[in-house]
């Protein structure tokens, strides 16, 4: 009986109460934000959520001048859960935009239902090559980078410096191989070894002993999250850090630096952004973030902050007419909002054309370690897949 009433009410709402054509400004904007909020990776989700909340605060709780809210979903670091959360947001919460997504596998699993629904989706971290290439879509944008670009930056830097005999380590799963391939796309020097370790491995002393015996000139690792903390600590404890410099990608950042103390001091990282990136918008973001949350934002936070501001800018451009997707997409393609990365552009595949930097782990004035810009490696870098993207127009 109740269900029948519900159906009748819903039917009446659909027929009579909803505006027939969508030229009117919406009275509410709902943004779905999917990230990891539980488990050890929950720290990344915390950075992202805090940054998105800060962006909303600074916009006065409005997106494009319209009262707005963000609904957060926990993907639990699992693709199936991520997809389910995404579908719930589309059906139950009727979100107007989807963003977040730390992990490539979660994003890939959630991608099809989101794209099919016509909602504009903005990846605020993961950048799997499929989405930059053959699977690109008009209603998908990346507010971050394509996965390969960060290791490419390290490969380019080490190649330009003429650093030879590099010992490479990554976990034995798909992203690990992708990262090493990205590195090798620009690094043409000698590789001492390319070692794949068990995902989630805790102790690296065996590998460190091997590195000492192999005598490389440099070590390059991709060991995200807890693996990075473990490897970097153990590498420093072994005393090798003083003789063989450690270069890494996605392995040391502001989510793990508090646990590393001085073990990471002087190590090299790469990225499109760092807290000290010199532009007014970034200063404003970092200052406000630290004032509100009392910790240093990571790139996860920066990307999430940008994603919300990008949505705000697009909604503003169409004066709140959320049904005009084409105009919002056209606006997003201009990359006109004020980004913490400074000026950048969107490529034909909706991935940023942006600069990448060599970063160095250093102690800030407040005694906290952060990643600091050392030098620019790529200017206006494009990912390797955009030519495979043949964007079909939106229906």
């Amino acid at each position: 009986m109740n269900r029948l009433v519900g159906l009748v009410v819903a039917g009446a709402a659909a027929l009579g109460l909803m505006p027939a054509s969508g030229h009117a400004a919406a009275d509410h904007v709902e943004i779905g934000f999917v990230t990891t909020l539980s488990g050890p990776s929950g720290i990344i989700g915390k950075h992202m959520k805090d940054a998105a909340d800060l962006a909303m605060d600074m916009l006065g709780g409005k997106i494009g001048g319209i009262p707005a809210s963000i609904v957060y979903g926990d993907d639990q670091f699992r693709p199936d859960v991520g997809r389910q959360v995404t579908e719930e947001m589309l059906k139950r919460d009727k979100v107007d935009f989807l963003t977040g997504y730390i992990w490539s596998n979660v994003l890939l699993a959630s991608y099809a239902p989101a794209i099919k629904s016509g909602v504009i989706m903005i990846g605020a971290n993961a950048g799997p090559h499929e989405l930059a290439g053959a699977m690109c879509a008009p209603n998908y944008f990346s507010a971050s980078w394509q996965n390969d670009e960060t290791p490419e930056t390290m490969g380019k830097y080490m190649n330009d410096k003429g650093i030879n005999d590099v010992y490479m380590i990554a976990p034995n799963y798909a992203a690990g191989k992708d990262m090493m391939n990205g590195f090798r796309r620009y690094f043409k020097g000698r590789v001492t070894a390319e070692l794949y370790t068990k995902p989630g491995q805790a102790d690296y002393q065996v590998e460190i002993s091997e590195i000492r015996a192999a005598k490389p000139k440099a070590v390059f690792v991709f060991l995200p999250g807890g693996m990075g903390i473990q490897f970097v600590k153990q590498y420093a404890q072994s005393g090798l850090r003083e003789t063989i410099p450690l270069y890494s990608a996605f392995s040391v950042d502001e989510t793990t630096l508090p646990a590393l103390g001085d073990a990471a001091a002087g190590n090299y990282e790469v990225g499109f952004w760092a807290p000290d990136l010199d532009n007014a918008r970034n200063k404003e973001f970092v200052t406000a973030f630290e004032a509100k949350y009392h910790y240093v934002p990571s790139y996860y936070a920066a990307q999430s902050f940008d994603a919300i501001n990008m949505i705000d800018d697009a909604v503003r451009a169409v004066h709140g007419d959320l049904s005009d997707k084409k105009a919002m997409i056209a606006r997003m393609e201009q990359a006109a909002y004020s980004s913490v990365r400074g000026h950048f552009a969107y490529n034909t595949n909706h991935f940023p054309i942006e600069d990448f930097y060599l970063l160095r782990i250093e102690k800030g004035a407040d005694g906290k370690y952060t990643r600091k810009i050392d030098s620019r490696v790529f200017t206006d870098h494009k990912d390797a897949y955009y030519q495979e993207c043949h964007m079909k127009p939106m229906k």
Binding site: G39, P40, G42, I43, K46, N164, D165, Y167, N172, R184, K188, G189, R190, V191, T192, A193, E194, L195, Y196, T197, K198, G200, A202, D203, Q205, V206, E207, S209, E210, R212, A213, A214, K215, P216, G226, I229, Q230, K233, Q234, Q237, S238, G239, T255, T256, P258, A259, L260, G261, Y295
Partner: protein, 325 residues
């Protein structure tokens, strides 16, 4: 221009590296060191499983609590003794509260109920730790007097802290050997492992004995966690993966046997280290380097379980099962 993909540069050919004697010694030492961390965890687990017939999945949570308390109290007071005392003391208290409050109701239930209940405790403790210490992994410093390296073999410096872990592991093994083999409590523990009903019938306060053993197990887990902190990541859920290895150790060693756990921990630790170090270069002699690069680590991580399967095939109750009637 340097050539691309000069795979086997650096330390000579793969065969050379396999034969490298000092590297082999160093990797054996790495294996022994890993074994000691495993042993501390497994010793408590095997007592609890062997004597009380309780599968305690929350043992990894006790390890985590030990690591968190040790890391945060060391950060506050910079005293190794205070950090260890607090970590072990606090974890024993938590362990005893769990034993009295929850596990007593579980001893007579079947293993599935125990697994469910203690799995629930894992979720509880992982979340509790996040609420108390936050989501960021905790910084755990190496005590200053244990920082740095010593040169064991010419040209091979070894972290002092890891040597300290080996030392503590051996000391605990000796302590447990004396406790179990040469004290009245030890006689009760052995009797409990052989026949629980009988020692109850002989008028021993079995409840008190269980609580004592559980406290001992919790203390050992805390010591293991406290020492693991500076090497591993002190984060919510840090004990969960480690617990699986500890179960492998006690199954190989024979459930309830401290001596078995010690030998099994050594076997597992050394097999793991040697497998990770030498399977890949050995494989590279047979197949291509890139095939060895991906197959090596996969096979190495299987090695421990292959070892367990092989040992259980010949000795289904483990290496040193306690004599039961």
């Amino acid at each position: 221009m340097p050539h691309e993909a000069d795979e086997v540069g650096g330390g000579g050919s793969a065969a050379d590296r396999v034969m490298h004697a000092s590297l082999l010694l160093e990797q054996l030492l790495n294996g022994v060191q890993f074994a000691m961390t495993l042993f501390l965890m497994a010793a408590g687990l095997t007592l609890i499983f062997g004597i009380m017939n309780l599968i305690n999945l929350a043992h990894g949570s006790l390890y985590m609590i030990g690591a968190y308390v040790a890391a945060s109290s060391y950060a506050a007071w910079h005293s190794v003794l205070a950090a260890l005392a607090l970590a072990i003391g606090a974890t024993i208290v938590v362990g005893i509260v769990l034993e009295v409050g929850i596990f007593r109701a579980l001893y007579d239930r079947d293993h599935l109920d125990q697994v469910l209940a203690t799995f629930g405790l894992i979720l509880f403790f992982n979340e509790a730790v996040r609420m108390i210490w936050g989501a960021t992994a905790l910084y755990a410093a190496v005590p200053r007097f244990l920082a740095g390296q010593v040169e064991l073999l010419p040209g091979i410096p070894y972290p002092v802290y890891r040597l300290a872990i080996i030392g503590v592991g051996l000391a605990v093994a000796l302590f447990l050997y004396l406790l179990v083999g040469h004290t009245r409590i030890g006689a009760l523990i052995r009797a409990g492992a052989s026949n629980r009903t009988m020692i109850g019938a002989l008028g021993i306060n079995i409840g008190l004995l269980y609580t004592l053993i559980f406290g001992l197990g919790a203390g050992l887990a805390a010591l293991s966690g406290a020492m693991a902190g500076p090497i591993f990541t002190v984060e919510s859920g840090m004990g969960d993966d480690f617990l699986i290895l500890a179960f492998v150790v006690i199954v190989i060693g024979g459930i309830g046997s401290i001596r078995g756990s010690f030998i099994a921990a050594l076997l597992v630790g050394i097999a793991d280290a040697v497998g990770r170090a030498f399977l890949r270069p050995l494989l590279a002699l047979a197949v291509s380097q890139s095939a060895a690069d991906s197959a090596g680590p996969a096979l190495a991580s299987l090695l421990i379980y292959a070892l367990m399967a092989a040992i259980l095939f010949f000795r289904p109750r483990g290496l040193f099962p306690p004599r039961t009637r």
